[in-house]
């Protein structure tokens, strides 16, 4: 697909008739323009931080959806614990912060590299000029990775790994399932968006089943033999749900070979499962625009400079969030927001003719094992001697095992508090 990733001038699509080079030398920050693609956790955080740090820089944010529906907390919607409105955020808060928001899809760009800037082409026909481009496209699901699991299959066996319509499909299928049915979640191998996410989903679906359809069964068919916060999740499942939940590691069932949506069938190397409701989370890669612009490497993810997030393949273009390889940082909303803010600082420096300073990042992933049972993993990150983003030694870690119920209740409250705070910070 993108064999020419190493060329500095990468002409894309038919939207551009000819390359558009501004020919401007390294601009002082005043009058500089940054275009940001994607109003999710990373892109919106970057755009907002830029307005705050360097108000002389003009920021344009391009996003196809009028409302961002967050993957974080979508598991509550799936389990019938929250409405989808509660996880949906409009873009007017970003406009009020002085960001020009264009509701359209970016389809191509000519980033000429270096300080010369370029032009972004939009599906609606418009163009956006920029001195620096930030691409935060999230992920795409790989519909070529599991036999029988194409995009059409996801209407019957939803992934719900992009929130919105898919979230409601999975919720509705659970609601329609009779008591005594079988739910299966197929979890991919690393790396994927939100390492603990599938297990929080299993937790809250188990809660739904235990309270509403207690004769049912939930199978977690894993492409791995271990997972994020594993001990904590398994302890919590044993305590709250007992034999209702069964985790099946890859060494037991073998890797996932294919599915048959019409039959509800999931076939692995050593086993075959039939589920009334199947949630297939396939392997992933960086979102489509990253592929189109030649930002992604062989594995499908984007490699970037750890201080500035500038693409290692296309100069002048910065990539953020789930789409990137970020050293030890996981693919999470919190990490994406942290990266977005660090990138804003770096852009302000670069556009002001200075080198970016060392960034600092935090990630905290809260997971709800049950409505009143929260757990977390946290880390602080710096750019290490290796030149990669590393977790700070001696810091970070997971919630303690065997903690008192009050601790689990506090972390469940803080999980909700995190969501309120971060969404206010980004889209409020």
């Amino acid at each position: 697909m993108t064999a020419t990733a190493l060329t500095r001038r990468h002409l894309i699509g038919t939207a551009l008739a000819a390359p558009f080079v501004l020919g401007r030398p390294a601009a002082a920050a005043a009058g500089a323009r940054v275009a940001v693609v994607g109003a999710g956790f990373a892109g919106a955080s970057c755009a907002r931080a830029l307005r705050r740090i360097a108000p002389e820089i003009a920021v344009t944010l391009i996003e196809p959806e009028a409302r961002i529906v967050t993957c974080p907390f979508s598991n509550l919607v799936i389990a019938g614990m929250a409405e989808i409105d509660s996880i949906s955020h409009g873009l007017d808060g970003l406009r009020a912060a002085g960001i020009e928001v264009i509701e359209d899809r970016a389809v191509g760009a000519d980033p000429a590299g270096g300080a010369a800037g370029g032009t972004l082409a939009l599906a609606g026909g418009g163009q956006v000029g920029f001195d620096r481009l930030v691409v935060a496209p999230g992920i795409d699901l790989r519909f070529d990775a599991i036999a029988g699991y194409d995009e059409a299959a996801s209407a019957i066996m939803p992934h719900a790994w992009k929130a919105g319509a898919q979230t409601l499909i999975l919720r509705d299928r659970l609601e329609a399932m009779p008591d005594g049915g079988t739910v299966a979640i197929a979890v991919p191998a690393n790396p994927y968006r939100c390492p603990p996410g599938p297990y929080e989903r299993a937790s809250l679906i188990a809660h739904y089943l235990k309270t509403r359809k207690p004769r049912s069964k939930l199978l977690v068919i894993d492409g791995k033999d271990s997972f994020s916060k594993q001990g904590l999740f398994l302890d919590g499942w044993a305590e709250l749900y007992g034999p209702l939940v069964e985790w099946i590691p890859v060494s037991q069932a073998g890797s996932l070979l294919g599915v048959d949506p019409a039959k509800g069938e999931i076939v692995t190397e050593f086993s075959r499962f039939v589920a009334d409701v199947a949630n297939i989370i396939p392997p992933q890669r960086a979102g489509a625009l990253a592929q189109t612009l030649g930002l992604a490497g062989e594995g499908g993810w984007c490699s970037v400079d750890p201080q500035s997030f500038e693409s290692l393949l296309v100069p002048g273009v910065h990539v953020l969030g789930d789409a990137i390889v970020a050293g030890a940082m996981p693919k999470s909303g919190f990490a994406a927001s942290s990266q977005g803010k660090a990138c804003a600082h770096a852009l302000a420096a670069l556009l002001g003719g200075q080198a970016p300073q060392a960034p600092s990042f935090i990630n905290t992933c809260y997971s709800l094992v049950g409505p009143e049972y929260g757990i977390s993993v946290a880390d602080v990150f710096r750019v290490g001697g290796s030149g990669k983003i590393e977790a700070v030694e001696g810091a970070g870690g997971t919630s303690p095992r065997g903690a008192a119920p009050e601790v689990r209740r506090d972390e469940a409250r803080y999980a909700r508090g995190w969501y309120a705070s971060i969404t206010a910070d980004i889209w409020g």
Binding site: A49, I53, P195, S226, F227, S228, K229, Q230, G231, L232, A328, M329, P330, F334, S337, S338, K341, A342, H345, Q357, P359, S360, F361, I362, N363, T364, S376, V377, A378, D379, V380, A391, V392, E393, G394, A395, G396, G397, T398, S399, P400, R401, V407, D410, E411, R413, Y414, R416, G417, W418, Y419, A420, S421, I422, A424, D425, G428
Partner: protein, 106 residues
């Protein structure tokens, strides 16, 4: 991301009582540094530390008190749910810069 509770305990190890000498940056650069270090605090504590939800706000804590609290979380003298793990990622110097950042917002 490092996995496993056992690994977390091992990594805590001998957390240093190292105190870095102040970096003597010019005032503007020091404030920018505080801004960068404090950037991710908002994810839990809300924009400018004004938390809209269950997590405590930190917007109106005096800088000496904030530095004391972060140091106490770091040493384990004060028991939190997640703050012990996070505070251990910052030096005295960085804690001071973060506290100054929030003080300047008041």
């Amino acid at each position: 991301m490092l996995g496993g509770e056992a690994m977390g305990a091992a990594r805590r190890g001998a957390m240093f009582g190292l105190v870095l000498t102040s970096l003597a940056l010019p005032a503007g650069a020091e404030m920018a540094r505080g801004d960068k270090l404090a950037g991710s605090c908002a994810a839990c504590h809300g924009p400018e530390g004004r938390s809209p939800g269950e997590i405590p706000a930190i917007a109106d804590i005096a800088p000496e008190e904030m530095a004391r609290l972060l140091g106490a979380y770091r040493s384990g003298e004060l028991e939190g749910t997640v703050m012990n793990r996070i505070a251990r990622g910052f030096t005295d110097d960085e804690i001071a810069a973060i506290a100054a950042h929030f003080a300047a917002l008041r």
